[in-house]
Amino acid sequence: MNEIAPSPGGHVKEGTITMDAGEMRCDANPSSPTAPDPSCVVRAPIGLLAELTHRCPLQCPYCSNPLELEKVNVELSTEDWQKVMRQAAQLGILQVHLSGGEPTARRDLEEIVKTAAESGLYTNLITAAVLLKRERLEKLKECGLDHVQISIQDVDTQAENADRIAGYKGGSAKKKEVAGWVRELGMPLTINAPIHRHNIHSVEAIINYAVELGAGRVEIAHVQYYAWALKNRSSLMPTRDAFMAAARLVERKREELKGIIVIDAVVPDYYAKYPKPCMGGWGKGIINITPSGRVLPCHAAESITHLEFDNVRDKPLADIWLNGDAFQKYRGTSWMKEPCRTCPRREIDYGGCRCQAFALTGDAANTDPACSLSPLHEEWAKVADVESHQSPPAFVYRRPGGATPKPAAEKTPVSSDA
């Protein structure tokens, strides 16, 4: 208190809990002043991604939900979710991201928001917006909703393209209307734009559109290739040149729009230098709960077929977080093999993504092929280049059963360039 450091802005460190169509990342300054509690090596989580339902009127081909969508009859009840919100706050979670599917498809969303807010959680609605009515948005605000994130597929002047991507006619116009209500009600707005081959040419227009809509943040969220996005990878993958141009543009717009809008960007790992620190470390900061109550270390974790997941119906959230097999399995660094085990970056990127390692190598403890030290890296990186230069096949739209017409095994990058 007796020293005021001369370094500008040095008094407030920033962490982010960012989520987009494909990934959730938490790097919320975990090693800050608080000394680690010696009795508990596991740190309390910061964010909860609550997938309230897998129902959704949109059919985006890059959806991060699993190919096998959970049905309405297995969804948690209102009381279950309310219990989860209270337990999450007690566990130390600070922010809840109400997601889906489309969370507004649940008629009890107001009650869930109310309980979350009363428990002290910062509430974030991640919505496609097309089902929202103004009265309902007002009601949600009254219930304590703090922030709204609306996804868009393209700008309003490209509504036809946007609606084609989402597989939903009139969606683009409706989203614009809802974004207007959010601002009229004085709520903060984030525009999330999943970026891929079919809209990467619009990145600058999308950023400008987010400014026009009154958003405080815009996420230029390059699609992460899991689940539906992996199924549609050859339709969605942009070329390296297109990606690089978009990345330069984001840098320029950040300068140009400083103090007007915050631009967050998520890089596709096919074009990144290092693997992404998936979830900011497995079981480190984020909990994901599926519509039926399964508790996952990340939203794609069910793709690792040998993991067993606890359910909030059976156990308290704290117990699952601290002791659950799925969380313990890849927590920290002791599970690592070479080259991760002795890698100087092991606590920076945690060997990348466990789900990607599993999908491509058959062992989730292997290095993510996104890492240049993976023996599969070369082959893997080539896939993006090859696919992005071929003419894109038709979308496999995200809908219940939509992934099954092609019953063949999930294609892997290693075989798909044949």
């Binding site: 208190m1 007796n2 005021i4 450091a5 001369p6 500008p8 802005g9 040095g10 008094h11 407030v12 460190k13 920033e14 962490g15 982010t16 809990i17 960012t18 989520m19 919320a28 300054n29 800050s32 002043p33 608080t34 309390a44 910061i46 130390g92 600070l94 922010q95 991201h97 002290g120 910062y122 974030n124 703090d146 922030h147 994130q149 614009k176 209307e177 974004a179 207007g180 601002r183 009229e184 004085g186 709520m187 903060p188 984030t190 400014v211 026009e212 809509l213 009154g214 405080g216 943040r217 400083k258 103090g259 007007i260 809008i261 915050v262």
Partner: protein, 100 residues
């Protein structure tokens, strides 16, 4: 939607009256034994000086008032304090945490 009012960057000066909008929540996190600022999909970790400054940002006091107050409190040169808090508040304003 809306009026095409061009959005502009807020520049924090001595006469600015900063305030955190209602959707930015600064609170004490007892579990972690520290102050935190909750913002849309963001968390901020303010040090004790920042907490002190932000508690004084009520939309009525100017940056100058706040600097004078802290100068008194901590017996430090008001000029130095003002330069420091303007830099801090400008950064927070650019990130949407503070309005002025």
């Amino acid at each position: 939607m809306g009026e095409p009012t061009p959005r502009q960057r807020t520049v924090i000066v001595s006469d600015s009256k900063p305030v955190m909008p209602p959707y930015i929540k600064m609170r004490y996190d007892a579990g972690r034994n520290r102050w935190i600022i909750l913002a849309p999909e963001r968390l901020f970790d303010p040090d004790p000086i920042a907490v002190e400054v932000l508690k004084l940002c009520d939309g009525a006091r100017t940056v100058g008032d706040i600097a004078a107050h802290l100068s008194n409190e901590y017996n430090a040169p008001v000029q130095d304090i003002e330069v420091d808090i303007i830099a801090m508040l400008q950064d927070l304003s650019d990130k949407g945490v503070v309005k002025a």
